[in-house]
Amino acid sequence: MESATARWTATRRALIAGLPALAATAGCSPRRDPDALTFWAISYEGDYAPHLMPAFTTATGIAVEVQTLPASAAHEKLLTAQAGGALPDVMMLYNGWVGTFAMIGALRQVPDASLVADQFPGVLQTAQYFGRDYAVPWSVAPQAQFYRTDLVERAGYASPPTDWAEWRRMAAAIKRRAPNDYVILAYLNWWDLLVTLAGLTQARPLKDRDTRGNFASPEFREALGFYKSLFDDGYAPVALSTDIQDPVAAFAQGYFAIYPSSPPIMLDFRRRTAELPPERWGVTRMPGPNGPGRVSSVSASVAVTTSSRRPDDAWALVRHLTSAASELRFQELIETMPARASAWSAPQMRQPRLAPFAEQVREPALWPAIAEWEQIQTEVQLIAERVVRGLMTLDQGVATMDREVDRILAKRRQLVEAGRIA
């Protein structure tokens, strides 16, 4: 009896001692295929990238493991992975991030000019750092206004106007017909719309070699003023992204008539045709002060990391992913717009609903390719939210933006003045 108890205690102790080891193996699950290339992509691109892989594996014999990162946490996850030396061979980056990751030495320079041939000039620039190519553009995703055809028609318009004055007249008409609903969705904690408006007024957000904020400039004030007026006039709900749990459903129900978004939203629309039949929505370019203009886009590019031990295989994968054929297949699958200029002459790109994007990709807005840009956009949006909520005036707002951005850029200013970076 006694020995049985002792044995039980011994096994239990062994079991407890084994627990951490068990947890360790469960935590970092062994790679299924140690010879596979690793590829991290964000959002839908990650979910659907495995569909592009069989062709690549058949042609080259190289297996690829794809992991998806959520868009909201991708930036910090990639940064942490670089700090921990855990980046994959190939990774997807949103434009604006290439400068950051090139600066911290995570990216290899593009070895072959043919990889970056056949690109729209403004788009290619977003994949460069110091004028050198560090990533290959994969898709372009300019913002556009998706609108409810029925609601806009009832207000007396075939499609939403693309200049501010006329757009506001349409907004007033829509609001008059449905005072409890709204005209446009603009999450107060997302910077997309404000940055787009700033591109349309041709604001230059930074000055002095991108070492100081320039938010008090008349162009940015114009953009912020228009942004604020959307909320003041009741055209946009004062809401955060966490307040509206299902924006597509809200759009389908007519809670707002215009949904400024980028092409992949069409995949959501396609998946939910029962709620939102295809004839109920259309798309047109974003409104600017005097008609459509330059609009920034949350475009994607792919890059090879410095930690990759098989750069040649990795570049082969990049070449495959960014081929016109792969990009067109992705357009069919998830509605991303191809970055290769020649892909746009394919028959599938001639659908009328893609026409606004065909025009817009030729007019991209360019933002500073500095490491702090992501943080600056976030910080500026936080202050813009305070302006919209009436916690500070527009003048106080732009002054605060300049002050906060100058603070964020202090280290960069010091390094630029010392000639250590450009």
């Binding site: 955060l240 966490t242 307040d243």
Partner: protein, 293 residues
């Protein structure tokens, strides 16, 4: 060294080593980081790292958002600790009542929220608190209260999150209080009743003094917990609206892991550490002074 001392050391050393490894060393390293300007540029090239002394701490004092985060955190703790402890104590007293049947079942049901996943329950609560379709506003509508934009308005966001947090955490202290209440001597209770003490008097002069130490422990743990509140605002409001739910830990997370300003983030961590330490010392002092509680 006698044999007894050697044995004692053999027992204590592993624990000391672990404390040193997971507590003293990281704290020292964090303090080391907090006097440098470690940023994304240091990640790129170590030679960009500078010693800045108390620079990060003075920078913090002039950052409006840090002060806002401090006052938000203080508000969370000031409202949240009494709310959570009162809810726990109330539930424990109800469970302790003799008239209550099915006690184990109630205990499990009331404890269940504590072991659920924050993210999953936060999503449910976001639906409950929704301004237009939420069940809570629907219920308030019956008594004629106009819909409240719980999570969307800077004034109601903290109370709304506290409703969720209280619901989520009260079960833990409830179980602790239940255990303490079962240790309250019945003879004392009966003696008090015979002497004509009412319900409140018995609670105040018999129950409360006997569970005093437990109450103090719960208060200390709750204060430390509420000062480190992060997951709930992160999941429910992302620190908004207008940064009304950005807490000190949220601010630290943003600076450290999002923007890689680890120097500044370490300074925040250090300030928070000192704050919790100071508050705990004050609480134990108060606890010692009012030992009759």
């Amino acid at each position: 060294m006698t044999r007894q001392e050697r044995t004692a050391w053999a027992f204590v050393l592993p624990v000391l080593a672990i404390i040193g490894l997971v507590f003293v060393l990281p704290t020292t390293l964090a303090f080391g980081l907090s006097v440098t300007d470690y940023s994304i540029y240091a990640l790129a090239d170590w030679s960009n790292l500078r010693f800045v002394g108390v620079g990060n701490f003075t920078a913090l004092l002039t950052t409006p958002l840090f002060w806002r985060a401090l006052s938000n955190t203080a508000l969370f703790a000031l409202l949240g600790v009494p709310m959570a402890i009162a809810a726990s104590l109330f539930a424990a007293l109800l469970l302790d009542a003799e008239a209550v049947r099915w006690k184990p079942l109630w205990r499990v049901l009331l404890f269940a929220p504590y072991v659920t996943s924050v993210v999953a329950t936060a999503v449910v609560w976001r639906f409950l608190l929704n301004e237009r379709y939420g069940l809570i506003n629907y219920a308030l509508g019956w008594v004629g209260i106009a819909p409240i934009d719980w999570l969307g308005s800077p004034t109601s966001s903290i109370p709304a999150i506290l409703l969720f947090v209280t619901w989520k955490v009260f079960g833990y202290n409830m179980v602790v209080f239940t255990a303490a209440l079962s240790a309250v001597p019945t003879e004392l209770m009966e003696a008090a009743r015979l002497d004509g003490a009412g319900r409140w008097t018995r609670f105040r002069h018999v129950t409360l003094p006997s569970i005093g130490p437990t109450l103090l422990l719960a208060a200390v743990m709750s204060v430390a917990g509420f000062l480190q509140i992060f997951a709930e605002p992160y999941v429910m409001t992302l620190g908004g609206p207008a940064q009304s739910t950005t807490t000190v830990l949220y601010f630290m997370y943003d600076q450290g892991f999002k923007w890689w300003n680890l120097g500044l983030a370490s300074a925040v961590a250090f300030v928070l550490f000192l704050l919790i330490l100071a508050l705990t010392i004050v609480q134990t002092r108060i606890g010692r002074r009012y030992e009759w509680l």
